[in-house]
């Protein structure tokens, strides 16, 4: 066992136990314990919702909805199961539901954002341009492909874990990831050629 593994074990095990305790207490109706669960997981959930939805306002709403669902269904959670996998499953579903509700609103907003960005194209840095490009590329993907590629490439889950979270088969997820990566590459190429006005259909 390497030193890093030893350190990881020493540090992560009490944290995991702590989270498990908080989850049990929260399932019994302890709101303070649930607050601690939220503190431990809020950044991961917010990052995921932001990547899935592409804007901060929707990400906040989705995160709130995720925690409400977590509290509601905590009684169904099997404590032997990986909590983060379960949490990401709820997150993906909450993002899907919110995206369905706000399809027209999101389209208008992103069009406005693109317009604003075009006006200040010269002022933005390359990094910001790349972020905007990735955001648009992700927004152009179908929901299932987006969820698969976010879980696999941005959240760092394995294909099998992503399949479990998405309640799909690894083969299907692998295919979705493959298609999504191909589209992202084409989107990047177009974006580089035509500037940020280029969109993928």
């Amino acid at each position: 066992m390497t030193l890093a593994e030893t350190i990881n074990l020493n540090v992560s095990t009490p944290i995991r136990d702590e989270l498990a305790d908080f989850l049990r207490q929260a399932a019994a109706g302890d709101t303070e314990a649930f607050d601690k669960v939220m503190i431990q997981t809020q950044k991961r959930v917010m990052a995921m919702t932001w990547r899935m939805l592409g804007n901060e306002a929707d990400a906040r709403d989705a995160t709130q909805e995720v925690f409400l669902r977590v509290y509601k269904y905590l009684g169904r959670y099997d404590h032997k199961q990986d909590f983060h996998g379960w949490l990401y499953g709820i997150t993906v579903n909450a993002c899907r539901d919110l995206a369905k509700k706000r399809t027209s609103h999101t389209t208008i907003e992103s069009a406005d954002q693109i317009h604003d960005k075009q006006a200040t194209a010269e002022q933005t840095s390359i990094e910001a341009q790349q972020r905007e490009m990735v955001r648009q590329a992700l927004a152009s993907l179908p929901e299932k492909e987006r969820a698969a590629v976010v879980l696999r490439d941005l959240e760092g889950f394995s294909t099998e874990e992503a399949a479990r979270i998405l309640r799909s088969s690894p083969t299907t997820v692998r295919s979705q990831i493959c298609t999504a990566r191909r589209k992202i590459k084409i989107y990047c190429e177009r974006f580089m050629k035509n500037g940020r006005t280029g969109g993928m259909r």
């Binding site: 109706g29 709101t31 649930f34 607050d35 939220m38 503190i39 809020q42 950044k43 917010m46 990052a47 932001w50 990547r51 901060e56 990400a59 906040r60 995160t63 709130q64 925690f67 409400l68 509290y71 509601k72 269904y73 905590l74 009684g75 169904r76 790349q130 972020r131 490009m133 990735v134 955001r135 590329a137 992700l138 696999r152 490439d153 941005l154 294909t159 692998r174 990831i177 493959c178 298609t179 990566r181 191909r182 992202i184 590459k185 990047c188 190429e189």
Partner: protein, 238 residues
């Protein structure tokens, strides 16, 4: 090796999502094909940009506000009940199992319901002992045959049976009109006939068989053929 195949598999090769044997083939091909190597490079660049897509750092106040809203909604909303968890435990597979059990029970009930069973018959088709005794008793005290009740009709030889008398006196239109209720109608017809002035000399028909209040023994026997049922009426044995 086909470059088209490499192009198909390359997005998965980037994250080692292909078999070891396929990885070896791809690597060997990329070493020899400049176009595919360039394509792989483009993929890697695109994925590097994509993986650098980090969400903006948010202030702690944003998270605190978010938690506050969640907690306020939780305290307002009722706690998840034990019943809802029980309902969740009643998963789809259990529902199917219960539905199958219910279906089986209903089928058994329909097949064996009392109205369809041959209560009067044993399995070999013979009459059960109790019923046989009843039938024998009723045989011993069998009601008088209608043939014993003779009616004298003017212009006809004496000794006409009730049945023949009915045939002689009943009118065809009445029979048709009353259809299945002929049996009830006929006593009245006979009485009308008998009370008419033209039939003063007709003997009175015994009313034993016309009295509907008299208890009647009814024995039913179901044959093996479900469409055939033997119904036997008799005066109730006293």
């Amino acid at each position: 090796m086909n470059c088209q195949w490499i192009e198909q598999i390359l997005p998965l090769h980037l994250s080692d999502d292909v078999d070891a044997s396929e990885t070896a083939r791809v690597v060997s091909h990329l070493g020899t094909c400049a176009d595919c190597a360039r394509l792989e490079n483009e993929y890697r660049q695109a994925m590097a940009i994509f993986r650098g897509y980090e969400p903006p750092v948010m202030d702690d106040a944003v998270y605190a506000n978010l938690r506050l809203r969640v907690l306020s909604e939780i305290t307002v909303a009722p706690k998840p009940s034990v019943f809802s968890n029980l309902v969740y435990l009643f998963r789809l597979q259990y529902r199917w199992a219960l539905a199958l059990v219910l279906l089986f029970a209903i089928t058994i009930f329909v097949v064996n319901r009392p109205g369809r069973t041959n209560n009067e018959l044993t399995n070999d088709g013979s009459i059960p002992v109790d019923l046989a005794a009843t039938v024998r008793a009723s045989d011993q005290q069998a009601p008088e045959s209608p043939a014993n009740h003779l009616v004298k009709i003017p212009g006809q030889p004496a000794g006409l049976s009730e049945k023949r008398y009915r045939r002689a006196t009943a009118k065809a239109p009445d029979t048709k009109r009353w259809g299945g209720h002929v049996a009830k109608r006929r006593p009245q017809l006979i009485k009308d006939k008998l009370s008419s002035p033209a039939n003063d000399d007709v003997a009175i028909l015994p009313s034993n068989h016309m009295n509907e209040t008299q208890p009647v023994l009814r024995v039913e026997m179901q044959t093996k053929d479900p469409n055939i049922r033997i119904i036997w009426f008799s005066k109730h044995p006293k």
